[in-house]
Symmetry: C2
Amino acid sequence: MRNKIKSIKLLIKKSDLDAVLISSVSNIVYLTDYCGFSYFEREAFLVITNKENYLITDGRYSEAVSDILGFELLEVSSTRRLEHIFKYLSEEKKIKKIGIEENNITVTESKKLKKYFRAMPVPDLQNLRIIKDEDEISKIEKACKLGDEAFDFILGKIKKGVTEQELAFEIEFFIKRKGANISFPPIVAFGANSSIPHHNTSDQKLKTNDPVLLDFGVKYQNYCSDMTRTIFFGKADEKFKKMYRTVLNAQQLTIEQLNNLTIAKKQIKASYVDNIARKHITDQGFPTIPHSLGHGIGIEVHEQPRLSPKSKDILKEGMVFSIEPGIYIQGYGGVRIEDLVVLEKNASRLLTHSPKHLIET
Amino acid sequence: MRNKIKSIKLLIKKSDLDAVLISSVSNIVYLTDYCGFSYFEREAFLVITNKENYLITDGRYSEAVSDILGFELLEVSSTRRLEHIFKYLSEEKKIKKIGIEENNITVTESKKLKKYFRAMPVPDLQNLRIIKDEDEISKIEKACKLGDEAFDFILGKIKKGVTEQELAFEIEFFIKRKGANISFPPIVAFGANSSIPHHNTSDQKLKTNDPVLLDFGVKYQNYCSDMTRTIFFGKADEKFKKMYRTVLNAQQLTIEQLNNLTIAKKQIKASYVDNIARKHITDQGFPTIPHSLGHGIGIEVHEQPRLSPKSKDILKEGMVFSIEPGIYIQGYGGVRIEDLVVLEKNASRLLTHSPKHLIET
């Protein structure tokens, strides 16, 4: 935690600010290790100055946050509203130039802030969590391991007549019984539903010769995993096998080249990596991937970097991201295979280890 | 759905706008009945003009949203980015003055919008969902009924040594097995933890003479319930009994007066209702409620109106909200009792029906 706060203090100095206002829940979790605030409502802010760290929240959380080290609590109440606290920080603590997360602060909030501060964007706050330290990587790795266990478990539950929702629950309950959480509601798609990349898991029953797409993740000690496997319930025909083979080859080719680039210590453009898989798929006559090839992951399921055709990101040591090519044929079905990778000093390393040969069951 | 869209068209006319941009996921669910978009990331917008309705999203959702009636899909892709779509709407569809949800649009988004539109706040969008129609109330009622069943079920699971987390899982799994979802992660607090209004459910084990605070809700067909009960594991002493009695009386007094005001067809200020319970609690020598007395509920667990000392809301027919007084003594424990109420033409009606006498088990 201390190093993370230190990086904020450096940012304050570098950007010539009096303070930084942290508003996104994920950055609050990152900087405090406290994960009790809602992602759905604004319940807290951090204000970090050169010397001091403040945590602004209300009475519902005062006791729970009292053991966060290094932060002074400024409690919002019906008599001391948020505006009063902003005024106090501006007038008593002489905070004038404050850096904000522009991609998180709403227009309404920005108007309030402007009454008391000169608020300015700090784009670096969007990338605050892009490089993971050892501790973070080890948490993501544990989340991945639990995900692999869940996949192994769920294979035993795939039988004729089971519904998508039932399988999704089995995945969720398995993960929760292990003392972890899901990082997002599991996507389970049977048959033609698998051609919808983000299918809403339904009551559809499994039939013979349905593809089964399973996309799920674990949240372990605030860190997420994410993986996708597509299996075939029955005997796959040549059309499906070709789709599957193409996706798998696209992924393996990408991982191989990523590894080579890492070993060669070359600069790795995220858009270049995206194109390896994308080109392989279209070269085989399939439609292009209708989403990015991959995304960073950490406290959030989707974070920086982005592996997409237009991405400007450069992939570096300590980044953890997904590689998830897919082919989707509307009305027929889809195949996606997704793994997480961490870039290390001399290699890229897979964090998910579930089998990837075509499972026909 | 049609009436809801119509209310937006009226708003456009009334506010002299060319269009309204809907960005909050809850309002998108409200207007389309489609609930597949993430609450964590921006994945879709609605643009509603006098004549047309557009749904902006990306390829992951194109197939899933294709059966939403009355909306034309504008698909974001790597070659047709969001800015291109904004440009198209501005230049081809002549949308210039666009109303936005200022409390939802971020500063970054606002800057993008300003390149193509004159964006202006539409405060009414914050209250779009404040009055519930019959269909919505019946969904909330069904969610409440499932919540009552979950409470009845969980009473049988409260035994020495069980952990808070285990009980929280039992509540969640019960609700999910019934085909519904949780509206938020259940709060289960034993002993002194019950003095933290939003306690993070932990691995603490239940001991004899612990209060047990259970705060949970159901999401049924996109609509939420919310309820809290506090029971006592063992034999409550006079101190706890007095706390319990005071909270229960505060709630009953509030509901009674709310009912009288409804029957008398008086204007009902939310702050006045808040004060009934608040005053009763402080009059008995207890600390004031460290949160609002209540909150509206619907697609979100917390929405308009707010029942708090500073609220300007007026309570009206069709509003559904919680009444949840509480007393919290740090290091000792807390009591909260929460029910949902709907205001009808001639009365207020309770939607949650779990028992409220002090259960000692």
